[in-house]
């Protein structure tokens, strides 16, 4: 008994130290946004000595030109919201098809599906860029190069993840629904999707986080500054300000991180624990 309490205390001790190391950079970031620029790098502490809101106020100010923080934030979600909705739709249909039905050539197609899991996106950037260039999609006002591939179930990892969960639901459910007169689409809609809700929320959240974090995509396909999403805007502000106005840059980073962390916290209670982000 005594040995157990001792090991429990030790475990909590290690857990706490680990947790502190993990979130120290984020706490430091939050503290630094309230510091004066001269003071930011003076110590490793978290709390500012003379808190100022200069960084936060400047963060919302424009650098000139057609883009500002709020516009960039809006652009990010102009990409993310349609992308998440279309991903959920296409990924669900694809996973359903692969997990539940047989058709000619299924073996080959399944192999291709799994092979794309390990096909590096970087390999595809050049030929995809040429393709989108030909299609006239570069700098499209609707962010077509970023959204259309996802709308066609381009994120194979999510398909594979969802397939595992489809397989976890006994087929007897489908058969019962069929006996009650459901066709396959109705079975999906009325029986399977409600059962898969936690996984679908995970899929949506993951796609949202990946999209908001994506930098290479917008860097290649968005050219007009007024259409820049947040990730490109942060890089711009860092290039413009590093060396002097770090509190402003860090405040912008902070504002960029907050919605993601918020979404994660809200969604967490509805998500399945095993699915937390697989892709980078």
């Amino acid at each position: 008994m005594k040995r157990n309490t001792k090991s429990a205390i030790l475990r909590y001790f290690i857990l706490t130290i680990g947790a502190f190391i993990m979130i120290y950079p984020l706490l430091w970031l939050l503290g630094a946004t309230f510091r004066e620029n001269a003071e930011i790098f003076s110590s490793a502490g978290i709390l500012p000595k003379h808190p100022v809101t200069e960084g936060w106020r400047n963060a919302f100010a424009s650098y000139g030109g057609q883009i500002s923080l709020l516009k960039a934030l809006r652009n990010t979600y102009l990409i993310a919201v349609p992308k998440v909705i279309l991903t959920l739709l296409s990924v669900t249909l694809t996973a359903y098809g692969f997990a539940r039905f047989s058709f000619t050539g299924k073996k080959l197609l399944t192999a291709l599906l799994f092979a794309t899991l390990f096909l590096p996106q970087t390999v595809l950037y050049v030929p995809q860029f040429v393709l989108f260039h030909r299609l006239g999609w570069i700098d499209s006002a609707h962010y077509l190069p970023l959204i259309v591939p996802a709308a066609l179930a381009g994120d194979t990892v999510l398909v594979v993840m969802l397939m595992q969960f489809f397989r976890g639901i006994p087929r007897t459910y489908d058969e019962a629904a069929r006996l009650d007169g459901c066709n396959s689409l109705q079975t999906l809609h009325y029986i399977l999707i409600p059962l898969l809700r936690p996984v679908l929320i995970s899929v949506g959240v993951l796609q949202l986080l990946w999209t908001v974090n994506d930098y290479m995509g917008p860097l290649l396909y968005v050219k007009t500054p007024a259409r820049y999403p947040l990730s490109v805007y942060i890089k711009l502000s860092m290039d413009a300000d590093s060396g002097f106005a770090w509190n402003r840059v860090l405040a912008i980073c902070c504002i960029a991180m907050l919605p993601q962390i918020l979404v994660y916290f809200i969604a967490q209670r509805f998500m399945t624990p095993e699915t937390g982000g697989i892709k980078e």
């Binding site: 296409s90 030929p127 066609l152 381009g154 930098y215 960029a256």
Partner: protein, 301 residues
């Protein structure tokens, strides 16, 4: 075969093919065709604004002779070989610590996962740059601990470590998968081992690790696949410097494709990266067959 005899029957049997049609379209349009296109393109001197001419193996012979490219391949492999195992070790340690139903464990799990939400984001990279810069926070900590300060971003060896540390910090995704796998291990197996006098370390290496080896290998493969194409961190934190010490392969590819517009050369580079990734995946698959315990795998992956 029967199918050809009865056309309507064939369509009927394959009607559920419609469900995967969007994926198949996307696969052909955005993956298969670009992939083949880039293979063809790699044997030309295609320039986005000039023209295209067949040049045979020239791009590839240039790559083999180009010391910058070779160095970049070496750096990328080094980056992957250090960052992925370190990241998975951190994830495993955290998963073992968190694998206990005690009070507050959910909070700890969330805190450990928090950095991973930021993933490859530019914001996280900027934060890292601020912390590791000269006279930055990390050096302030080192000084407080009476350790020598390091010029992280200007030193050829240290700069790669800055990027490695960023990726190790974000170990949440494998941690959650390890945790889920650890919780699947039947408790009586561990109890039996304990009765036989096995300690915690022995239990880990003889029971836990073999039981979850499938998940470990899956993460190794995905981890290498991601690390070999790392772009955001070196691009934002070091711009590939100092003196090319963090010019990972993706950065080189990006520059030749989108700064120099030499699409032909870039396609050849992309195929080298593809072959490199395939080689690593192949080795892991071979090792997997030897080392992994699979109670109920369907042979899908």
């Amino acid at each position: 075969m029967k199918q050809t005899k009865n056309h309507a029957g064939f369509l009927r049997r394959n009607r559920h093919f419609l469900y995967i049609l969007p994926w198949l379209l996307g696969f052909l349009l955005f993956r298969a065709i670009p992939m083949i296109g880039s293979l063809v393109c790699g044997f030309t001197d295609f320039h986005l604004f000039r023209g295209i001419r067949h040049t045979g193996l020239m791009n590839y012979t240039q790559i083999i002779q180009n010391s910058e490219v070779l160095r970049s391949i070496g750096l990328t492999v080094k980056f992957a070989c250090i960052s992925v195992p370190l990241r998975l070790c951190a994830a495993m340690l955290a998963a073992l610590l968190l694998n206990r139903a005690v009070r507050g464990i959910r909070t700890f799990r969330t805190l450990y996962y928090l950095p991973s939400i930021l993933g490859g984001s530019v914001a996280a990279a900027v934060l890292w740059k601020a912390m590791f810069r000269d006279g930055g926070t990390v050096n302030a900590i080192l000084t407080a601990l009476h350790l020598p300060a390091v010029t992280w971003l200007a030193d050829a060896h240290a700069s790669l470590w800055v990027i490695i540390l960023l990726r190790v910090w974000e170990f949440g995704a494998p941690m959650l998968m390890f945790l889920a796998a650890l919780q699947q291990i039947p408790q009586d197996l561990l109890d039996a081992a304990k009765l036989d006098g096995a300690g915690a370390v022995r239990c880990f290496f003889r029971i836990r690790l073999p039981m979850i080896s499938a998940v470990v290998f899956y993460n190794l493969m995905l981890g290498f696949c991601a690390a070999l194409q790392e772009f955001n961190a070196p691009f934002v934190i070091t711009s590939g410097g100092p003196r090319g010490a963090t010019t990972l392969f993706s950065l080189l590819l990006y520059r030749s494709a989108f700064t120099a517009n030499e699409m032909g050369f870039a396609c050849a580079l992309a195929w080298i990266l593809f072959l490199l990734t395939a080689a690593f995946s192949g080795v892991f698959l071979l090792l997997r067959r030897k080392l992994v315990y699979d109670p109920d795998e369907e042979g899908a992956a």
